[in-house]
Symmetry: D2
Subunit: 437 residues, 4 copies
C-alpha cells in the first residue's frame, strides 16, 4: 500500500474548542503536523494585533490550520458521496487544507507592506523547497508536493478541490469566522456550520461547490457573519491602531538600517528583510516571538522614534484616530502635517492614514474577467441560481466594497506637552472643527 493510502493503526484526535475534535486517520497528515514548518505556526498569531482590542483572541495559525483541515475532512469523508473524488484527489485536498497558511509570517499584513514579501509565494516555496514538509510530501511521489501546491495556488485541474479551500464559501473562511468568534467572544461570527456542511454539493460543472436551495438561509447567515466580523472585529479601529504602530516600527527600523544606523544589538534575524534579500531558511526562522524580542530591546534604542513606537506597541499606548475622507480631507491633512512638523513630530510616523476595505460578497458580473466565483444555489428544479438573485439580503451587501479610512496620531503628545501647548491648541481646534462638520 502506498504512503498516500496509509492509515494510522488507531485514529488520533486533537481536542478542539471549535470543532470538538479534529480527527486524523491518514499517516501523511500526522507526519505533516509533526514537521518543524507546521509547528512553527504555533508561534504566529492568527489575528496579529486584534488581541489589543479583544484580549481573548490570542490563538495561533496552528490552531486555525487544524480547523480548516477538519472541515475539509468532514466535507470529503462525510458530506460528499465517496466517488466524488479519487483517493489521490482526497489526500491532496486534505494536505492542501492543512498547509494552506504555511507561508504566513509574523503580523503578515504590516510585514509584507514594509518588506515586500508575499506569504503565498512562501507557502509555495515551503511545499516545494528544501523543507521537512517537502520531505514528507515526497514520500507520496515526486510530483506530490507540486500537486498539493497546485491546489493552494488554484491551478489544480479539479477546481472543486481548489474552491473547497479558496473561494467565497471555503473551509478557510468557515473556520476562521467560527474560531475568531469563539476566541474574541463575540457572537456575530457564529453560523450553522453543520447545516452548511449538509447542503454542500460538488458543482455539476466540476468547478466548485454549490448549495442546495434548502440551505440558502444558512449561507445568508454565514455571509452575514462574515460581514459582521469584518465590521466589528477585523476592521476594528483600535486593532488597526496597533497595526499602524507595527507598520511604522518596521518602517523606521528599515529606514534607520538603510541610513547606516548602528543598532545596539545586531538584529541578525531581521537583517535579510531590511535588505529584501531573504532565503527560505531566514524566512522560516522568523516568528512572532523573534519580532517581539526586537521590539522589546528596541524600546531602549537611542533613536527616539523607534524606541517610542516599540514602547507604545508593547505597553499598548496606541494612537488615536479620526475619520478621514480621502476626497475631501486633504486640506485638513496638510494643516495637521504642518502643525506636526512645526512641533517636530515626524508626520511620516505619527500622522498616518490607514485604509481598510472589504467586499463582503462578490456578485457575478457577466462579462467581467476578474472577481471571485459567486455562490450558486441548486434549485429544486435542478437549475443553478446565483445566490444574490434569490436573497435580497445578500444582494444588499453584494458587489459593494466597504471602505473605512482613518487618520491616526498620538493624542497623548497633545496632552502631555510633547507638542507645545500653543500648537496643541491649534491641533485640537482643527480636529474639533472637522468633527462637527
Amino acid at each position: 500500500m502506498s504512503y498516500l493510502e496509509q492509515k494510522m493503526p488507531e485514529g488520533k484526535v486533537f481536542k478542539d474548542p471549535v470543532h470538538g475534535l479534529v480527527h486524523v486517520g491518514d499517516q501523511i497528515i500526522w507526519d505533516l503536523i509533526a514537521t518543524s514548518e507546521f509547528q512553527r505556526l504555533r508561534r504566529i498569531r492568527q489575528l496579529g494585533t486584534t488581541s489589543l482590542t479583544f484580549h481573548g483572541a490570542e490563538h495561533s495559525r496552528f490552531n486555525h490550520s487544524l480547523g480548516v483541515y477538519e472541515i475539509v475532512r468532514e466535507i470529503l469523508d462525510i458530506t460528499f458521496a465517496e466517488d466524488t473524488f479519487t483517493p489521490l484527489e482526497r489526500i491532496t485536498a486534505l494536505c492542501a487544507a492543512l498547509l494552506h497558511d504555511l507561508g504566513h509570517g509574523p503580523f503578515s499584513h504590516a510585514f509584507e507592506k514594509v518588506f515586500h514579501t508575499d506569504h503565498e509565494e512562501f507557502t509555495q516555496s515551503i511545499l516545494t523547497g528544501n523543507t521537512e514538509v517537502r520531505s514528507v510530501l515526497l514520500r507520496g511521489g515526486r510530483e506530490f508536493p507540486f500537486l498539493v501546491a497546485s491546489v493552494i495556488n488554484k491551478t489544480h485541474p479539479n477546481q472543486t478541490l481548489v474552491k473547497l479551500i479558496s473561494s467565497q464559501l471555503d473551509a478557510d473562511r468557515m473556520d476562521y469566522l467560527l474560531r475568531d468568534a469563539y476566541y474574541t467572544g463575540v457572537s456575530y461570527g457564529k453560523f450553522d456550520l453543520e447545516r452548511i456542511l449538509r447542503v454542500l454539493r460538488p458543482s455539476p460543472d466540476g468547478n466548485g461547490v454549490i448549495i442546495k436551495e434548502s440551505g440558502m438561509h444558512a449561507v445568508e447567515d454565514y455571509l452575514m457573519s462574515r460581514y459582521q466580523m469584518y465590521q466589528q472585529v477585523y476592521f476594528h479601529p483600535v486593532s488597526r491602531s496597533g497595526e499602524v504602530l507595527l507598520w511604522k516600527i518596521l518602517d523606521r527600523a528599515k529606514s534607520l538600517y538603510q541610513a547606516g544606523y548602528e543598532f545596539s544589538v545586531n538584529p541578525s534575524q531581521v537583517l535579510p528583510f531590511f535588505e529584501e534579500d531573504i532565503t527560505l531558511d531566514e524566512y522560516l526562522a522568523l516568528d512572532d516571538s523573534i519580532l517581539m524580542f526586537y521590539f522589546s530591546i528596541w524600546q531602549n534604542e537611542k533613536d527616539k522614534i523607534l524606541s517610542d513606537l516599540c514602547n507604545r506597541f508593547l505597553t499598548r499606548r496606541l494612537l488615536s484616530y479620526v475619520d478621514y475622507e480621502p476626497s475631501s480631507d486633504q486640506d485638513f491633512y496638510n494643516q495637521m502635517k504642518g502643525l506636526f512638523e512645526k512641533a517636530e513630530v515626524d508626520p511620516a510616523y505619527y500622522l498616518v492614514i490607514d485604509y481598510s476595505s472589504d467586499l463582503p460578497y462578490d456578485l457575478y458580473k457577466p462579462g467581467a474577467s476578474t472577481g471571485k466565483s459567486p455562490i450558486q444555489l441548486l434549485m429544486r428544479n435542478g437549475e443553478l441560481h446565483e445566490l444574490s438573485t434569490e436573497s435580497p439580503i445578500v444582494e444588499s451587501i453584494g458587489g459593494k466594497i466597504r471602505t473605512d479610512v482613518k487618520l491616526y496620531f498620538p493624542l497623548d503628545f497633545i496632552e502631555n506637552g510633547r507638542i507645545p501647548a500653543e500648537i496643541a491648541k491649534e491641533i485640537v481646534t482643527l480636529i474639533h472643527k472637522k468633527e462637527v462638520q
Copy 2:
C-alpha cells in the same frame, strides 16, 4: 473626591469569552490596566506548555487577570450586601484581584526550579518597588501599595478579603478553571459560577467566605471540576513532557554559562538569571517571547545537548514516558541510567523523573497548625459545617494528595540509531519488562 473613589465618566467594558463582559468603572482599575507591568502579562501564557497537548490553550495571564478581577467585582458589587466592606476595602480587593499574578514570569514552574526565583516575591516587589503600578497605587495614598500587597500576601487584617483571592474557593481558581476549560475545549472544568456567586456570603467570623447550604451541590461540582482539570489537563503527561524539556533547557544553559561556555549570541536578557542576581527591571524585561527567542537561536548552538533540547521544544519532538514508582523502581532507573551512559546520552538531561501532585481539597484537621482553611456551609439552622462532613463526594477526594510520577526519555534516540542498536534493544527489553509487571 479622592482618587480611590473616582469613577470613570462612562463605564468601560472588555469583551471576554468567559464572562461575557468585564466591567470597569473605577478610574484606578483603568489606570492599572494601562501600566507596562500589567500589559506585560499579555506576553506570559497562562498555561505554559499545555498548548503542546491542547492546542487551543494559548491564552495569557492578562486574560486571566481580568477574569479574576471581574469575579471579585461581581461578588463585591452584586452578591454581597453593600455594607460588607468599607469603600477602601472594596477598592483594595479589586486592585489585589487584578494584580495578584503580576510577578509571574515566563513558564514559571520550570523557571523557578532552575533559577530559584519566586513569582510571589516579585509580585510584592512590583507593587511596592519602582514601577508604574506603584505610581498609580500611590495616587491612592502612601500606604495604599502596601495595603494591596497585604491582601496578596495574606496579611491584610480583613481575612475575608484575603480569602476571596486566595483560598480553596477563591476568584482565582474559579476563573482559571472556567477559562482553561474554555480555551482547551474540555468540558470538565465547567461549573455553575452564577450559582456559586449567588450563595457566597462573608463568614460571620470575618475570616473568609461561606456557602449557603442550598449551594452545596454547586460547590461539589466546582471541586469536581477542579479535580478533573488537574487530572485531565494540568497534569497531562504530554504537557509535562514539554515542561521537562523547558526545565532541562534552562538547566543546560545555566550549567554551560557557569562552566564558562561561550554562547554564539550573548544572552543578555538571561545572564542575570544565570548569575541568580536579578534586579526588578531585569525580571520585568523577561517574557515568553524573550525566552522563545533564545530557544530559537540556541537551536544552532554548538553544544549538542542545548541545541537538541531547544529544537525538540520548538518542533514538539517531546520525550516519551513510563510510569515510575519511586518506592520500587529505583533498580529500573539505575539500569536505564547505566545504559544511557553507555550510549553516551547524558541521563541528567535525557532521563528525567518528574513528579506532579495535587491536593484536591484540604480537610479541616483539628489541631493541625498548617493547611488551608476548609470550605464552610451555612446550614439552615445557622450552624457552620465543614463541607466534607456533609458531602460524601468531597470527603472522597478530601485530604488525599494525588501524586503521579513519570520517567521521561527520548524514545526517538532508541528508534533512530542515536543510541546504538544493541543498547537500544536492552533498553526496550527493560521498559517492556517493567510495563508487564
Copy 3:
C-alpha cells in the same frame, strides 16, 4: 410603604435556560405569577404547531412571559439611569411585561380565525375583569389595573414604556427569538442580547427607545435573526400544515354544531365558542389540553371529515403542499377543486390555500399615517438617524412584505386509493405540470 413598593424579604429566582436566572424582587410580581390566570399560561404552548416540525419546541407562554419580564427588568434596573422612570412607571412596566400575553388561548392563530376571538381584548378583560390578576393589581390602587392595561394597549402616556413591550425592538421579540431558537435548536435566532441591552437608551423625545450608534451591528444582527426565524421556523410549511389541520378541525366542528350535529360527547367547554358568545370564565377555562382532549375523542366521531382531521393532527399525518401563486394559479386551483369534488373529497377541508406574510422591518415612510415606529440610532454627534439609512442590510429587508402562499391537500388520499385511481392520476399530472412550469 405601599404595596407597589413592597420588596420581598429575600429575592426569588427562577432557573431559566435562556436568561440563566429570572429575578423577582417585587412582591406584586411574585403575587401575579401565583394567580390562576398566569399559571394557566403553562398550558398554552408558545409555538402552537411548530413542534410538529421542530420537536424541541414544546415550551409554554408561561416560560416566555417570565423571559419578557426579565428583559424589561434588566433594562429598567440595570441599563437605564435610575431616574428614567418614576417608581410607579417602573412597576407598571414590569407588570405589563409579565402579563402582556395573558389573553392568549390555545393555538391562537387558527382559533381566532374560526371563532373571531381576539387575544388582545381578552388580555384587557383579564386585567380589568373579575379575576385573581385584577385582585392583585387592585392592591396597587383602584386605577392600577387600568394603568397596566394601558401599557399593553399602547395608550399609556409614557410611550417609552409602551415601546419597551411592543415595538420593532421590544422585550417581547427579544425574548421569543432567543427562546424559540433555544428550544428548536436552530442557531439563527441567536443574537447578542447583552450588547443590545447595553446600548439601549430612552428616546430623548419620550417616545420609545433608541440605540447608540456603536450598537448598530448588534441590532442588524437582531433583525437578521428575526428575519431568519420567520423564514426558517415560524413560516415553516410543515408547521403551517399542522396549523391548517387545526383550522379545519375547528371549522368542521363549528359547522357541524351549527348544522345541528349531535356530538357523541357533549363538547361543553367549546360550545360557547361555537355560539360565539363567550364569557371571560369560559375563555379562561380553555387551554391546549382541553382542545387536545376533544381532538382525541373526536377521532371517533361518526363524521368522517372531523374524525379524519383529528386523527391526522394527533398522529401527524399532515397535508402535503405546493407553492401557490394567487395571481396566476386560479385555474390550477379550480381544476384541482373540480377533481376533488369528483372524488367526493370536500375541498373546503382538503384543498386549502394558506397565506403567511411578514414585514421584517418597517421603514419610516414620511407622511404615512400608519406603520410601526422605526428604530432610531443615536449618532455620535447627537443626531437621530433611522436605522435603514445607516445599514444597507436593514435597508434590503426593510419595508418589504414577504409573503408565501401554499396549497395544502392530502397526498395520502391520492396514494392510498381514497381518491379513485383515474382521478388521482389527473391530479398528479396537474401538480406535476404546475411544478415544472
Copy 4:
C-alpha cells in the same frame, strides 16, 4: 433487499437541540416514528411535574426517545467496528432504542402507584399487540416484534445490545441527563458525551459495554452528573410536592368512584383504570392532556377534596413540607395527624409522607445475586477493572442508597383559617419544635 435492510433514498434529519441533528437512514425507523403509538409520546411529558419547579422542562418523551435512538445509532454506526454486530442485531437495537419508552403513560410514577399499571409491561404489549408499531415491525419478519421486545425486556441473547439501552451506562441515561439539563437550564447534567462515545467498546465477554481506561474521568463526570441531577432536579422537594398532589388526586377520584360517587361528567377515559381492568386501546387513549382535562373539570366537582386538590395542581398551590425521619418522627406524625383530624382535614390526602431514593452507582458485590452490572474499565494491560476500584470519587457514591423523606401538608390551610386558629397554633408549634431539634 429485505425491509430491515432498506435505506431511505435520501437520509432524513430532525433538528435536535441536544444532539444537533438526529439522523434517520433506515426505512423502518422512519415508519416507526410515523405510527400513532410513537406520535402519542408527544403528549406525555418526560419529567411529569418537574416543570412546576424548573419551568423550562416541558419536553416530551417523543423528544427523548429520538435522542436515545440517535446515541445508539452513533455508537453502532460510528464508534463500534462494523463487524461488532450483525445487520439484524444493529436494526434490532435501533428499533429498541427508539421504542423503549413506548409504554409510558401520563405522570407514570403517581399513576402506577394508584392504578397498579406497569409501563414496562405496556411497552411489551404495544410491541407485540394489535398496534401500528407491531404492523411495521412485522414487515421485518414474524419474529421481529419479539426480537425488539427481547432487547427491551433484557432477554435478548446479545447482552451487549441489551446493555446499550439499559444498564448503568446506557443511551437512555446519557440522553435524559443531557436533555433534562438542557431544558431545565441547570448545568450539572452536562458531561462529555462525545468523549464517552469515543471510549466505549463492546465487552470482550459479550456481556455489555466497557470503557477504555483513558475515558475513566469522562465516566466519573457522567456519574457525577447523574448524582447531581437526582439531588438537584429529579428529587427536588417542590416537584415532589406536585407529584404528591397528582397521586392524591388520582387516589381520591378512584376512591370516590369505588364508593359510588357520581361525577358531574362521566370520566369515560379513566373508568377502566378505576376498575383496574384496562385494554391496550384504553391505555393508549390516555395521555397528559386527557388527565389534564379531567383535573380541569374536577376543579368544579362537589367533592371538596377532589376539587381542592385539582385546583391546587392546576394553579400550583403546592403543599409545603418538612424533613421526615421515619425511624424517629412517628410521634410527630401521629400528633400532626390528630390535629388534622380534629380540624377535619383528612390526613389521607393532606398529610402525606413521600419517599425518594436513588442508588447513584451500584458496585459489584461478589456473591450477590441481584444488582446492576458494574461499569468495567479496560486497562492498558488488557485487564478489566471495576470502575469504583480505580476511582475514589465513584467509590464514594457507589453502593450507597440515598434516601430523602418528606412530610407534605397544606401550610395555606394553617394560614388562611381553613384550620381553626387554635389548632393551627398547635400545628405551628409542633413543626417549629421538630425543626429546632
